[in-house]
Symmetry: D2
Subunit: 252 residues, 4 copies
């Protein structure tokens, strides 16, 4: 990305074929974007897609659950995008354990959810927040308030039967998000949490019969990305901390 001339960039953690990809494509219309996923197979197709559309993208293999891996990723960013400021950081990673009875839920199941959801956010935000804070007063000024957006789910608000481990991880992420919003909002960083309440339309869910298979019964990830972009552009006098997104036909 040596040719990048724009002074700002965005970083998206957790990029696959769904929301992460759409968010990356959307933010790439405005910024160079850095994509963090565990495996290159996850981000490479998106990097290619962005480049084909004339955008700039960099993929970095990152284990978000490992603080050192995340630190190394941000070192790479610093080296590859020298002198650039972080405009937006999106935490879209999630770890969803199997759905099963509480009695079959092992400590490992719970750990994987807590680490894959909450520790991932902690690690990511530890690196991203100092950069976002520094962007608040950067010269030139950022086009919009520096932003951290966190992807939540139905399970962020509700512990359903057989979803205990997953809900524990998502509740914990929401707790961290609220705490970050209250600590860093007054310093000019916008922290928002998005409740995605429904099935996302992506290759993985192709056969899922969400909402009886009705058209638009699954969330279009490009539509999700539009709302992420809107959150990023909100004026600091009017920040959203939390919003929900769901298909028009979703029961709630």
């Amino acid at each position: 990305m040596s040719s990048i001339s724009k002074p700002f960039y965005a970083v998206i953690a957790g990029v696959g074929a769904g929301t992460g990809r759409s968010v990356a494509l959307r933010f790439a219309q405005a910024y160079p974007v850095v994509l963090l996923s565990r495996r290159p197979e996850s981000y490479n197709p998106v990097v290619d897609e962005i480049r084909q559309q004339g955008g700039e993208a960099l993929g970095i293999s990152t284990d978000l659950t490992d603080p050192n891996s995340v630190k190394a990723a941000f070192e790479t960013i610093k080296r590859e995008l020298p002198g650039r400021q972080l405009a937006a950081a999106i935490y879209n990673a999630s770890s969803r354990p199997s759905i099963k009875s509480f009695l079959d839920t092992t400590p490992d199941d719970l750990s994987r959810s807590l680490v894959g959801n909450a520790h991932g956010l902690l690690n990511f935000a530890h690196s991203a927040l100092p950069l976002l804070l520094s962007s608040v007063s950067a010269t030139p000024a950022p086009p919009y308030p520096p932003t951290l957006i966190i992807t939540g789910a139905t399970a962020s608000l509700r512990g359903s039967a057989r979803f205990g481990a997953f809900a524990a991880g998502k509740f914990a992420v929401r707790a961290l998000g609220q705490s970050l919003a209250r600590e860093f909002g007054p310093q000019g960083v916008h922290v928002a949490h998005v409740i995605v309440d429904g099935v996302i339309d992506m290759p993985l869910t192709k056969g899922w019969p969400a909402n009886g298979g009705v058209e638009d019964g699954k969330l279009n990830p490009d539509a999700i990305a539009d709302s992420y972009w809107h959150l990023h552009t909100q004026h600091r006098s009017s920040f959203t901390q939390e919003l929900d997104l769901r298909p028009y036909v979703e029961k709630f």
Copy 2:
């Protein structure tokens, strides 16, 4: 408005110098807008402003608490905008009683809040919803899903001491909004409720020392309007039912 050629329009109920004005100006960039307020002094300056910017606007004196007055307003709309479809309806009216001890809160105080908030929404939505439903399948298709947006407040979520009557009205509005979202969402109409959590920056609040007088410590109503517009443009696979808006420095 005889020269209006666009096939869609928006209607905003409760237009004064704050959120209503900004929303009207924002939606007037895309649609002819109809402004409903009790007194012409409230909407006339906004109508003028929209026209000066090349937009189309019509003000109608309407008592939202009176079903017949609201019906008459929509009759006028039908006559003045023949053949046009309703794209968006914004309920921004509010009735805020004095803040006082419960023991000093009269049945009239409570009535004014319940009628001025909840009955106003009932009356407005009674006329707007059939039009929004008809727009869902209109030809040509509407640019975005037909939308009803309702303005809420901190008191929509929390009954503070000495705010009982106000909170009762705002809670009731939120109840209606949820009920409408669940009934009409599956029919294609997007119903959203916005929690405005803070002081809005408008002539009335000029001297109010919100958030210690810090810059952007009050909600810029144009910023609010940007989020209303975003809600209107959301794809039906990804509707927001509720979001909050507050200044970056607001305690919450």
Copy 3:
């Protein structure tokens, strides 16, 4: 009730064959109780039952939606129970409009719900709160902190499709309850709101197939009354503002 010797009493508004009756019977184990219902047919059987069990009870025909009727009822109480202090006031009245589409919900439907739920509470609490406040520092001291308990429902928390008018009234009641708790709690009066989430087992609901007709699939009103009594007995260092009650098999 001229023979009443105990210095405290309780008043229950909204007494029929369900929760109100059970609460009256439960509180009558400790206090003379006053029962307010619109019609004598509603409270007379409960008054008889209490007397048969050795308790003291007084029924007063009261229209809770009419401030003057409520004032008259409390005048009667003052006359009939001279020198006695109010220990607990239970607001169990409710007005449940028909469940129907929003488009068929008339302003009258909404009014009946708002008046029958929220105005009823306002009127009742206007008379009860000064008495409860006076009991805080009465001599002899009350056995428990003076208490106002309000009956809520699923619709207090959630505006379902076709339940708009009912939810509006119940949301408004909850708003008032929170406001009262925050204003009068620090003055020593305990204000609690109970979410009854399910069908109550009473003559009216005999044939209702709640939870597939399973045993205890409807709320036993005596069990509800036990929780009301517990709320009343809570120490002022540990007040509950809100709790939910639902059958073990209820989906939520």
Copy 4:
């Protein structure tokens, strides 16, 4: 405890000088109680106190964050209380990390909170739930529905600035609690979560100036225990899943 003749017992995890002690004393009025704490210094004084009052108590040194330690504790219980049925299990353990900026919150801080709160509950409930389920249909029948009560805090509902790690752990516990309630409620086990919103009056907090030092401005743990006992006694047709407890003067 070889002389125990009652067929039921209760187990309390997390017993020190505050809520755990009071809950143990309260439940010891009805059942033999087993107290689990990491160190004997925590439970020994409570065991002594219970015995002095004629109750039966057994303390077991248990590391709730270690599945094997918890399993071993329940093996001990099985051996020491042969043929007895579990009537109530109270999860009162908590791990509260230092309050500090997110940027100073280490992965270890977060881990300690997640493990000390959520894993502790998982481990405890893994052993307790099968016993509670078996008690549902035990002969003789249990006096009340078998119960699991979980202690929460303000941070269970709200992620405040500088409380991120603590809130993450408490949110995760609440998620598990909801999931357990929804899975095991229909099987007859009552799972309740208690939001303790305020400072508890105990040796540790003696000098804390809660609510300006006003009398009863801190939660009396005996009062908390009364509400736990009430939860345990609720009829299965009328279970509370969540309630809040706070001093009458607490701001909320």
